[in-house]
């Protein structure tokens, strides 16, 4: 059985401009959403309290919201979570310049909120709570940004060493474009951006670089094999030669991710969603964005075919 019976080389590069325009539009849209709406950060980054509360009967988020509002709680977020009996309550961090007093107030607040919940439904029971102090949240946010930076740098250094800088730059731009799009989608729908989602984004970054690597591996091979072909022809041949594998591997990874999405429960939902977006855009960008970018940056046969000669030249003086 074979899905892709590709008989001739597909002229991807002829349409490079179209792909680039599509990328640019989605990219600009994503940046726009990020700028206008911003990410909906989970309390891990912002600080605050989350309580998962279960009831014997189906929960009534509206009533809970009302009761909490009447008890003087502000900016409270009450959501259904998982089954109908469960609600998720978010208490934002209280503004207070002194982190110590802030922490204490938050502790008191969650106890008070629970008391209110019991008045709405006596069967209310805490399943899970999470409290993150303001200072910890800030650290997590910086650590996350730092991790992203290190991943980008590490991958670039490796690719520059393994191939050459044009490919490294092309790859990282193509994949950062994926990351921005994932973030853009999360901003557009105001999905919660939590630590697992960050992990998914970084994992996807490492994973989709694979595709570019596979294509560029083939490009290198073809530069050596197809002596007379133009850069465009070589890129086309390389992409055509690998596209079937790309789709199949991404497809199988996606099967796993779908399994997490459907069976992994509410706490892994956004993690799996981020992976799904990442995998879909990963196919597109690493194949159809990275290759044209490398060409624009001036990748040529000389970069690959005569490395030995260069080494000799260096050794001469």
């Amino acid at each position: 059985m074979e899905f892709f019976k590709i008989r001739r080389t597909i002229p991807f590069m002829r349409h490079a401009l179209v792909f680039n325009v599509i990328s640019l539009i989605t990219f600009v849209l994503a940046v726009g959403f990020l700028a206008v709406r911003g990410l909906h950060f989970s309390i891990e980054f912002t600080g605050g309290t989350v309580m998962e509360v279960t009831h014997d009967k189906p929960a009534q988020p509206d009533k809970i919201r009302e009761a909490l509002g009447a008890a003087g709680f502000k900016d409270i977020n009450v959501l259904k979570f998982g089954s109908s009996q469960d609600v998720l309550i978010r208490l934002p961090l209280k503004a207070n310049p002194d982190p110590k007093i802030q922490n204490e107030e938050m502790q008191k607040q969650s106890v008070a909120a629970m008391a209110v919940l019991r008045t709405v439904d006596a069967s209310a029971k805490i399943v899970r709570t999470e409290f993150v102090g303001g200072q910890v949240g800030k650290e997590l946010a910086t650590d996350g940004a730092l991790a992203l930076l290190v991943v980008c740098l590490g991958i670039m250094v490796y690719l520059a060493f393994r191939f050459e800088w044009r490919f490294a730059v092309a790859t990282i731009i193509a994949n950062l474009h994926d990351v921005v799009i994932i973030l853009g989608v999360f901003a557009a729908f105001q999905w919660e951006f939590s630590l697992p989602v960050l992990a998914a984004v970084l994992a996807i970054l490492g994973y989709s670089v694979n595709e570019s690597v596979v294509v560029f591996d083939r490009v290198r091979e073809n530069f050596r094999k197809m002596r007379r072909a133009s850069v465009d022809e070589i890129m086309d041949a390389s992409i055509t030669g690998t596209i079937s594998r790309t789709i199949i591997t991404h497809g199988s990874t996606q099967m796993m991710v779908l399994s997490i999405l459907f069976f992994g429960g509410a706490s892994l939902y956004f993690f799996a969603l981020a992976l799904t977006i990442g995998i879909c855009f990963g196919i597109y960008s690493s194949v159809l964005v990275a290759a044209p970018l490398a060409k624009y940056l001036g990748a040529s046969r000389e970069d690959f075919v005569k490395p030995e000669k260069k080494a000799v030249e260096h050794a001469l003086p």
Partner: protein, 622 residues
Amino acid sequence: MNKYPVWKYVIIAIALVVSLVYASPNLFVEVPVVQVSGARASVKVEPALQSELEAAVKGAGIAIAGVEVAEGHATFRFADTDTQIKARDVIQSKVPAGYVVALNLQSATPKWLQALGAKPMYLGLDLRGGVHFLLQVDMKAAANKSVERYVSDVRSLLRDKKIYYSGLAREGDRVVVRFRESDQRVAAQKLIEKEMPDLALREQVAGEEAAIVATIKPEIVKKEQELALQQNIQTLRNRVNELGVAEPIIQQQGGDRIVVQLAGVQDPGRAKEILGRTATLEVRMVSEEHSAGPGQNAFAAYKDQPAPFGTDKYLDSEGNTVLVKKTLVITGDRIKDAQPGFDQRDGGPVVSMALDDSGGRIMRQTTRENLKKRMGMMLVERNSTVVLTWPVIQEEFGNRFQISGIGDVQEARNLALLLRAGALAAPMDIIEERTVGPSLGAENIAKGFKSVVYGFVAIAIFMIIYYSLFGVISVGALASNLLFLVALLSMLQATLTLPGIAAIALALGMAIDANVLINERIREELRAGMSPQMAIQVGYERAFDTIFDSNITTLIAGLALLAFGSGPVRGFAVVHCLGILTSIFSAVMVSRGIVNLIYGGRKKVAKVYIGNTEWHKKDATA
């Protein structure tokens, strides 16, 4: 062609067998147990105690499924959690002081596996249920307190040696001693230099007055902070022992933080209450000059009045107003021991205290100078200070003394515990807290397990349909990958979290990439007209470079996550990185091994079962 030397098969076989052995404990169900262990490492459960407890449990009509004594603690196994809890109550009532009784779950792994060190994967809090606290130690408060202590140490030292000073005060983090006469200053400087090498001294002359400015040496400050942290950890450990938690984790994190993880705690609220008690002890003199006389109502007049200059106003445990001087006599970190007991004269409950040498010296001097005056022992918590007791000093005493005037025996016991274990070197704040109920943990395991299984099955079906025999081989390699990963996680006892299970699923999803790469390459070579044996050989060789490259980049991402991630993300990163390593081995070594077993060494291979690769020929002839 396509033959592996024997040693490669041996490596694969050993890897598989070892993994099978170490992964197998995960298959055994966990049984409820009650563990009895010594509160301190030196206290061990002796066989006599174990058989006594066993008899007691049996006497209460509770069936025991098994008993073990190992490494100084006894483990009683039970059929279900109901009997476990009943038995816990029985054991709790029989166990002498100094032992901790805890509920736990233990894998029913057979003895011979345990002897090999095989254990099931270590589950994180989100899978087992429990509480996690991150506590920030207030180092500034610790530093302030230590400056205060030096102020009182310098004071008692100068008084002891009869050196006269005109002023002694704390200014920020410095101790400033002023002198009218310069010979006194010189003498004082010599004395302090000799007796307190932890202080860095500096002279300061302003007009008529000469002064010594003492600061604590930076390396001492650092050492004291470390000590404060260690003492707080020890205090937390003592408190956790009260809770009866099976395997508490209490660790330092960074320079000023402590992580506490208590898995399987039934009542997170109580854990928080006990851990959160940030009590320290302070001893200060009662301000007798404002007192209206002896008795409880000495300071009743100040009930609604502000505290006079130089004093602080607090309530005692019965609600009476007490005025104490601002000057500290000693703090709780001078206490070496506190034990409940009985007064030898009137038989009333007392707490016998033991102080360290420096504390004893200060106490001796203070009590000598303040006979028949009252001394306040205060428990300082975050926002509230309670005067535990304010007895009259009957006689001079040093580093051993008794606190009397305590209500009853129970109160004496509580007070001793608070004085002994309740003293934190520095106050702490909970800056991160996570509690997960036990039912949610079980639910998370089930969900994670389902995701892995269904995902695996879907990929397996697809691979077998798409690549026929080579698909089967790929699925075999993928299964071995899962086995290696689980075995590694069990061996390393790395914490498995829900994101960690997601990482297992993702690792499998990504690992199949390598097999697809190989299979596609072989197909391509076959299409190009290579002989089957050649195609297999070349397919594996060419695919290897790509597999290596792509895994390296994924590994970079994984390592960065490991370095910067915390909590759940760390759990993800560990599995992610390990998954990459096992997938390289299984995709390259194991799948090649199977292929070689099937095709290797055959003279003639007519067909490679890797799906149809002949379609383009038909096209050409058509």
